[in-house]
Structures are given as C-alpha cells and as structure tokens.
Symmetry: C2
Subunit: 504 residues, 2 copies
Amino acid sequence: MTQRIHLRPMDAAFLLAETRSTPVHVAGLQVFKVPDGAPPHFVSKLYAYMRGFPVTAEPFNYQLDGRLTGKLLPAWEVRDDVDLDYHFRYSALPHPGGERELGILVSRLHSVHMDLTRPQWEIHLIEGLQGNRFAIYVKLHHALVDGTAAMRLMTLSNDPEDGFAPPIWAADLGEEFSHRGSGGSLLGRAYEVLQKELAGLPSLTRGVARSTKGLLGLPERDDLTSIGEAPRTILNVKIGGQRRVATQIADLARIKAIGRAAGGTVNDVVLAACGGALRRYLSALGKLPDRSLIASVPVALMREERGASGNAVSSFLSRLGTDIADPRQRFEEIKRSSEAGKSHLKEMTEAAVANYTLMLAGPILLTGLLPDLGTLAPPLFNLIISNVPGPRTRLRFHGAEMEAFFPVSQIGQGQALNITVISYADHLAFGLVACRDSVPSMQRLAVALGEAIDELEATFLPPAPEKAAPGRRKQARSPRSRSGAAAGKSPQRSKRAKASRPRS
Amino acid sequence: MTQRIHLRPMDAAFLLAETRSTPVHVAGLQVFKVPDGAPPHFVSKLYAYMRGFPVTAEPFNYQLDGRLTGKLLPAWEVRDDVDLDYHFRYSALPHPGGERELGILVSRLHSVHMDLTRPQWEIHLIEGLQGNRFAIYVKLHHALVDGTAAMRLMTLSNDPEDGFAPPIWAADLGEEFSHRGSGGSLLGRAYEVLQKELAGLPSLTRGVARSTKGLLGLPERDDLTSIGEAPRTILNVKIGGQRRVATQIADLARIKAIGRAAGGTVNDVVLAACGGALRRYLSALGKLPDRSLIASVPVALMREERGASGNAVSSFLSRLGTDIADPRQRFEEIKRSSEAGKSHLKEMTEAAVANYTLMLAGPILLTGLLPDLGTLAPPLFNLIISNVPGPRTRLRFHGAEMEAFFPVSQIGQGQALNITVISYADHLAFGLVACRDSVPSMQRLAVALGEAIDELEATFLPPAPEKAAPGRRKQARSPRSRSGAAAGKSPQRSKRAKASRPRS
C-alpha cells in the first residue's frame, strides 16, 4: 500500500537540524489581483475548486516513515491518504487588510513548525487583501525540496494559459520532483564528511578554521574571503522560534542599469544593496562592527542527472563592504570578493566542494544536536544572502495576475537574519526573515535596502542634465523601490510613489 | 529588574508533560454580538483600544526563567517587557464566516504550541463571524492557571457594567492569580508521590493497579469504579499533535428538568448525555466495547488558603453505561457510580487523595518522559469529562453581549478525546477536543450529544397529552440542542430549530 523512499543524505541532515527554535522550512508569498469581472467571492470559489483535488503528486504525498523515530535513518513513505484540509488552508486578513496585516499573518504562519508526522507542506489561500487582491503562502520543509526546486514548484501552479489547471498537489510534475533513486550523489559522499564533522567538532573552531583554506587546497589570495574573518554581530546570536518577515521590491531594469554602469553583475548589485542597507541599519543601532560583514551566497551545483531535485547547492563567501563609507569603493570590494569566491568554487575538485559546503553548512546543520554551537563558535559568516532566478514573464493563476512573489526563507542558530531575492518579470523581490527577538525594527532594514539602491543609482547613474542617455528618463535619486509586508510594527512604506522605468 | 517565583510542583509537572504531540494548554472560545448602533469597524477599534495597554498584570507577565533549561527546576520570572503583539492577535474568518470557519480556525490555533520562552498565553480577537458577531479565543498554559481559574480569568474581562475596562493583561486581578508563596500545599506533598511514581513505573500496569483500592484503603464496593475496569477503545491510542474542536449547546433549564425527573444532579445528566452520545458514536463506527467506558471527572479540591490558584483538583471515576441499551438503566448506573466515586473521595484522607490524584494523573503527566506509556499500559479511564460552573448572568464586553462561551481543553497520550462543559446564563456549552488523526467525524459526536439529551428527555419527561404539567409546553422529542463550530468537516448543524423552554 505504501512505498518507502530513502531520504537523500543532505535532506536527512536538514531533518537533523530541526529544533523548536529552528524550524527548517522555506516559503514563498505570492500576491495576486482578482481578475476584472470575476464573480463575487472569487477567492472562496477558488478555494472550493482547489479543495476538490486529492493529493496525488510527488513529493506532496511523501511522509516520514512513522515506524522510525524519524531522526536516525529517515525514509519517505508515499501515502495515498493525505489529509488535504490539514495542508491546504483558507485564511483571511482582518481590517484594513493592508500589507501590514499580510506581513503579520505571514510572520505567524512562518513561526509555526510543521507536524513531522505528515507530508511537509502547507498552502494558505489568504483573502481580504486591500485593492481587490489575495495572496498565497506556500511552506515546504527543506528536506522535501531545495530553494530552487521550491521556486519551480510554486510557480508551476501559475498557469500562463489562464486556464483552470489542477492544483500543484494534484498535478503530474514528472520525475524532476521525485526523490526516487538519487541517493548516490556527490552529496551522498558529502554526508560522510558530515558524520566526520560530528566526531570532530573542535575543528569548527576558529583556530582550526583559519587553516582550512590550505586544508582544502585553496590558493591564498587577498580577495578570497577567509573562513575566520567574519566579525561578531547582533545577527549572530542565539535565536528563538518566532519570526518577523519584511519585504522590499526593486525594479530589475534599474538594478541591471546600475550593474552595467558599475561593471558588475545583478548579483553584485544585490550584494551591494544588502551591504549598504546593513551598514545603515547597524550604524543607526550603534552596532556596526569595524570589519566587513561576510555573506554566504548559495549557488546551485550542476546536477549529475536530470531526475534529481534535492539540496544540490554550495556557497561562496563574500565581503559586504560594511566597513567602507564610500559606495563606489564598497561596490568594488564586493565585486572583487564575490568574483574570487565564485572562481575558487569552480577551481575546487568535486570532493573539495563537498568538504567546503559541509564546513559552511555544518554549524547550522549541527544545531539540532548542539543548540549553542552556533553562538559559542565564532560565525563563519554573518548572514546568508540568496539570489534565486524567478519567472521572467508575468504569470496568472486562474485568471488572476501575480503582482509579486516574495521568498520567505529560514534562519538558523547564530544566524538571526536571512535575505533572499527572487526576480519576477520586471522586478526583484527581497524577502527578509529574522528572529523576532534578536533583530529589532526589521522594517527599517527593508527601508534601508531601498535607500541603498537609491545610493547606488546616485553613484553609478548620476543625473546628466545635458546628455541624458537615450531611452532613459531624467530622474535623479527618485526612488523606484517600495518596502511592504510587515515586521509586526507600524507600516513604514515609502511615501514616495513607485515610478516605472522602461527596460533599457 | 526581574523577580523569580518558583513554580508550584503540580504546575511544574504540567511542564514536564509537554511534548510535541501533547501541548498542555487550555482555552476558551467566547462568541459576542456586535452591539446595535456600534460604529463601523467596531472590532478593529476594539483591537486598537486593547492593544494600547502594556502587559502589567500577573500571571500574564510570568515567563519561564531562561537561565534554566526550563524543565528541571522551573521558576517564573516577572517581566516588564512583554511583547504584546506576540500574545494579543487580531484575526479574521474567510468567507462565509460561519461556525464552520470559526471551528477550523480554533482547531488550528489550538494545535499550535506556545513558545516556552515567552509568557504562556495568547488572546485572539477574531472578526468576520456571520450575523454581525465576533469571537475571542483565549489560550493559557496549564502551568499558569488551572481550568477553574482560567474560567474566571476569561470571564473577568467581560464587564457587566458595559464600560470600557482595561484588557485582562492590564487589569489588577489581586492576589488570587499570583503564584507567590503558595508552594507548600497538599499538592506540594503530592509531587513527592509523583517522584516515587517515576521510580516505580511498573506499578501503573494493570496487575498492580487492580489492587490499588486496597492499597489506598478504599473499601471494596460494587458501585465504586475499579482502577482496572476501563476497556480499551479507539479513544485510548497514541495521539498526534493536531486537534479538532467541536461544540454543542444545551438549555440548562431542560437539563435541570431531566435531572429532577430522574432523581439526579445536573452533573449526572451531563455524564448521561456523554455516555449516550459515546454509545451512539462508537456503535456507528462498530467500535463499541462490551464493558462500559469509564470517565475521569475532575472535582475542585478545597483550597487551604485564599491566595492559591493553581491546579487544585482531584478526580473520581464514573462508569458511563455505554454497555447498557436502556437509557433509564444507563442513567441509574451512572448515578450510582458517580455517587460512589464522589463519596469515596470525601472519605479518603488528605494523603490518600494526593496518592489517588497522582495515580490517575500520572500516566498523562509522565508522557513527556515516556511517550508510549499512555498507550502501552491499559487505560485507567477512557476520557476526561469536566463540568465547570460558569457565569450565571449574561455578560457584556465593551457593550457586546456574550452569546456563548465554549471550553477548549487539552488531551494527552492515550487520551484522544476530552469533553468539557461550562454553564453560562441559560445554557450548557460543551467543548469537545480530540486528536485530529484518532477521532474520526468529531462533528457526529457533537450531534450525538444533542440526540442523547433528546433521548433522556423522552425517557424522563415523556409527553403527557392528557395531563401536561403546568407551565410546560407539550413537546415530544423536539430538540433543544444545537451543535456548532467545526471538526474540519462539513457543517452538520441540526436542521431543527432550537425551541426555547421556560424554566420550571
């Protein structure tokens, strides 16, 4: 009746890492416009329609094998009796139903653990959003899908054909999302390294970590961020179980124009925006460290076979230039550091990448066993900044156009903040997730992100009154970002209107 | 800055008992009518008003001492920095906002653990209930207040004077709700017994339990329910962490009239209604055991000092007559069994009561340490049925009349169903809480409760066409109960209208 599928080792490691304070799930928040001319109670009808489909698609019917304690040798069972009403939920926002109320609800939903005795996903249909809009919040355990796969899962349900497709849990997703027969990968070997790390925890302390570059055969180079250089910050503390979620939006064309003018990539501009925002935010709190904050930037690894989903990622470290006041110099530092990190990841052997990945992931993954490790050992990096490519064209779901798509990621012990960015059509959506207790005034950080982008634009695209570039309107420092959602605080939305900018 | 107050032993035991599957909190659901002539967005304004008060009242500012692991020697800290937005939450029901949507939301809220690093309470203001109504769901950890004290906490906030009193967390409740200096009680000594139970777990198995009556010095009497006589049922299984909540309402005058006619108390009628309902429900599932189900019925113990709140309760066991088809014989059996249980509790010495209380509570309290105990050992009883006296007069909250007040209690390992009853003004409100996985079709059980009351009425108050009692209208089997809220299933509200019955 039920089938068993063994968890891939890295996926199993995400289960090991789960504690009350560090639920290991990722999520997405999609905002939709109710179609013009839709019947009354459109969202309610959509709920009833979707609820009519039983759960038949992998991995939505995967459940941890209940015969085990679920921790030591986990396996998935494929179930044909999934209790859909538990996983698919219909909610509403209270008056006045603005971005603030949406942010509060999503912060709460993101703070709740998933029940490990059931398939590890939730989809919340949320009505009552101002402007005749609704939202969908999708939550998935990291053991089920990695961030990139999750992205595809969440957008797959947006049917560009405007038709009434079955919901994602009843769609035939093909082999890509199956976990069958993909246990012997690079990360399978990497798991052995994790087991060695478990036996050799002291090697994660600063003294040993300093020599890790040599250990892994990495050349010494100034631009390459060393394992031991991240400062201690207010972001690297013991976290609790409650979350705050905040969001920010930036026009993609504008980010691309800044990148071109500065000689960097979109990712460099994203890191520079984060670096500038963190410098502002920490300065205002009087908590800016002397040395630059270090970001861990995940990158997708090549997959060895088409049918593999799972957590096939590594990371490189990049300085964020938070110690540099000049935005141009800060950008240059970030660009050099990020290039060095990426190129060394390419130069490493497959085995060295596995070692390096687990060394970086280790402290987070191990916190399930040793909750204080993430705060006792010095941080290997200060926060994770993840930049995920999203859908390029505007999507619709049952006729409703998707306005925005915010990532809502996870944090870990000693890592109280995560910034994840997804591109969608003509903009980048920033999703900020933080520990409710450790990171004060999250909304200010979201606003600072917008200000940092304004600063980058003023630096690299200064207004040229006499010779404006063709096709670009003359606009100096006029903001094209808006921060939304909420951090459980009063809304501090940018009062300046969002100006559209033609793609150039 | 902060003060420390040691937890009373029984309260500490409730913390020990907490696991992912068995959150140890109790709750109440109050339904209000928006006052006639209230301004638009009355509920939103009420939320804004209440949110203006910081948390200053005990025990709403009690937090477990973070310096301890929180489990071994717990103490409360009195905090002056409680994060109100975490505890006081504003929510809304989706379309159509009926009892079903309310029940689904409350089932979800009741399934979520409270964060042990914060004060152990939540108050949810819920708008969007059909008929211009709103609801308040209050959740409290059992270590903070016992059920009876919780009741008073929840009704205290209903100001009969129709004024705008401060919310409960900012009200001066007096010493009654303080936990200061009340550690040396009967239950303090009882805690020593619990520690002995920990060392002597085998004594909880059936073989030894059979002799417990003699051990405790109880006389052998046929009517007295023996420790070993509860059958195994579908209610006595390993439970998961998700809950279903269902409700039922019965006219108090009608229950009293049945009791008078049958020569029993209101509590006897409540137990008979539950017995009749469980017989119907289990028969329909083909799961009715040959022997009668046994209920554990909590009773409040005398408090030795005025300032004591806490869990000052014991319980007696009562047969529910589920093995008897005839409603009159079933009632007689319940009445005899319940009287024997109560009178023996009175005859016992104080120390014997403490032993007896902990023997009954032991398996539930110990499940935090040994999760399977509750299912491996035979059940000492099949479910807890608790009958709590509530407010006698109609209450208002900021001008809004309270229509109903449902208890939402807790369940434990091996105890998948709880029925708690509260009286309010002219009715009894039944709150049923069950494990989402173990108890199918909760709503059917709520409907069966109404049918069982109809049956009791038909038995003891038969229609007398020729000589109707003065002041009582001629009505045969016309239903005067209604089941509401939800069990995550389609609403199955009684289609027959509620008929009012004059008090006689």
